[in-house]
């Protein structure tokens, strides 16, 4: 297959943009809640200034809500920071189970919008590979996005990572409604998988997408 590097890089850039947009949306929600809680504290303070008694516990509750949302926003920013740094080096040592769980975390908002739950199942021991981290994340995100959109609401997609003889495997299990004709992987996913020297298979009968990755990937670029 012609790898078409421009297409692969464009796919990576689009995935980066998609994930960044979801992250900014989550941060906006946290900020909006902080804004309303702080505004309510201001409102209650103004009432207190006018002589209306306000219970101190009310302020404590609002402050606790603000701290909770700051913690939420901090977690989101940490995810964003980790994702941004995945572009630092082309090829590096990768913990496959940790990477799969991280991509699931990045896909949380998309899953919530489709009312699908994600359940990362880590391996018993770390599965360490030498791979191109950013494009591995890109491919996993595309697989997971397809799984989320295909699965019926209220169902769970399990993300199972395990070691194999050649390296490691990630299986997306419990995907409902997988069509039996080969709509996935598409040309872009196939090109990404080939670049990662991996094998990407959709098993409609089992309701699974399987990605087999060798222990040492040497980038084609």
């Amino acid at each position: 297959m012609d790898l078409k590097p421009d297409t692969i890089y464009e796919t990576g850039l689009r995935t980066f943009g998609r994930i960044s947009a979801d992250i900014s949306h989550e941060i906006k929600n946290a900020l909006a809640i902080i804004n309303e809680n702080a505004g309510l504290m201001e409102d209650l303070s103004a009432l207190a200034d006018q002589g209306m008694p306000v219970e101190p516990q009310r302020f404590r509750g609002l402050a606790a809500n603000i701290l909770k949302q700051i913690g939420r926003a901090d977690d989101i920013v940490k995810k964003m920071n980790r994702f941004a740094h995945s572009t630092d080096e082309a090829v590096r040592q990768v913990d496959l189970g940790d990477t799969a769980a991280f991509v699931a975390a990045l896909s949380g908002r998309l899953a919530a919008m489709h009312r699908v739950s994600l359940d990362p199942v880590p391996p018993d021991a770390p599965v360490l590979l030498t791979a191109h981290l950013f494009f591995l994340e890109t491919l996993l995100h595309r697989c997971l996005s397809f799984a989320i959109r295909t699965t019926e609401p209220e169902k769970t997609v399990r993300i199972v990572t395990c070691p194999t003889e050649i390296g490691g495997q990630v299986r997306l299990c419990g995907i409902g409604g997988l069509p039996h004709d080969a709509v996935f992987p598409g040309a872009t996913e196939k090109a990404l998988a080939e670049m990662l020297k991996s094998r990407l298979v959709t098993d409609a009968a089992a309701g699974e997408i399987r990605l087999d990755i060798p222990g040492d990937v040497t980038s084609s670029f």
Binding site: A21, S24, H25, E26, K28, N29, L31, A32, I33, I34, N35, E36, N37, G39, L40, D43, L47, N65, Q69, A112, M113, H114, R115, P153
Partner: protein, 126 residues
């Protein structure tokens, strides 16, 4: 007193905003899903609904259509966390560019938009 309905899947956001609006003489019910909002709207009439565009189950645009069927006179303001050009075009086409807000929202701005939207209610119906 005006009655408005706040709908957003972030419960803390709508619950707190409802309390702040009530302090300003605006009676507000809140819901975290479209289905819950429709249940409220089935039992009472609202002057205006503030709807988050992106929600699980039923997004704000779909909810607006259903609420409009129930209460054709109801006004709408859309709320979003995205702030993208695409969202702005979609929201503005549904509610008008003046009735589209991006989170976080200044409450004075929101009240000004609510007041402006409600002035557009045809007085012949009241």
């Amino acid at each position: 007193m005006m009655h408005i309905l706040l709908v957003d899947d972030e419960k803390e956001l709508v619950a707190t905003l409802a309390e702040r609006l009530s302090m300003r003489g605006i009676e507000a019910d809140w819901a975290t899903t479209g289905e819950e909002a429709l249940a409220y709207a089935a039992s009472r009439t609202y002057d205006l609904a503030l709807l988050d565009i992106k929600m699980p189950r039923m997004g704000g645009l779909e909810l607006k259509k259903k609420l409009h069927t129930l209460h054709p006179e109801m006004k709408f303001i859309f709320l979003t966390g995205h702030g993208s050009e695409e969202d702005f075009v979609t929201g503005a086409s549904e509610a008008g560019a003046d009735n589209y807000l991006i989170k976080p929202v200044n409450i004075q701005t929101l009240i000004a938009k609510i007041s402006k939207a409600l002035k557009e209610i045809p007085h012949s119906e009241t």
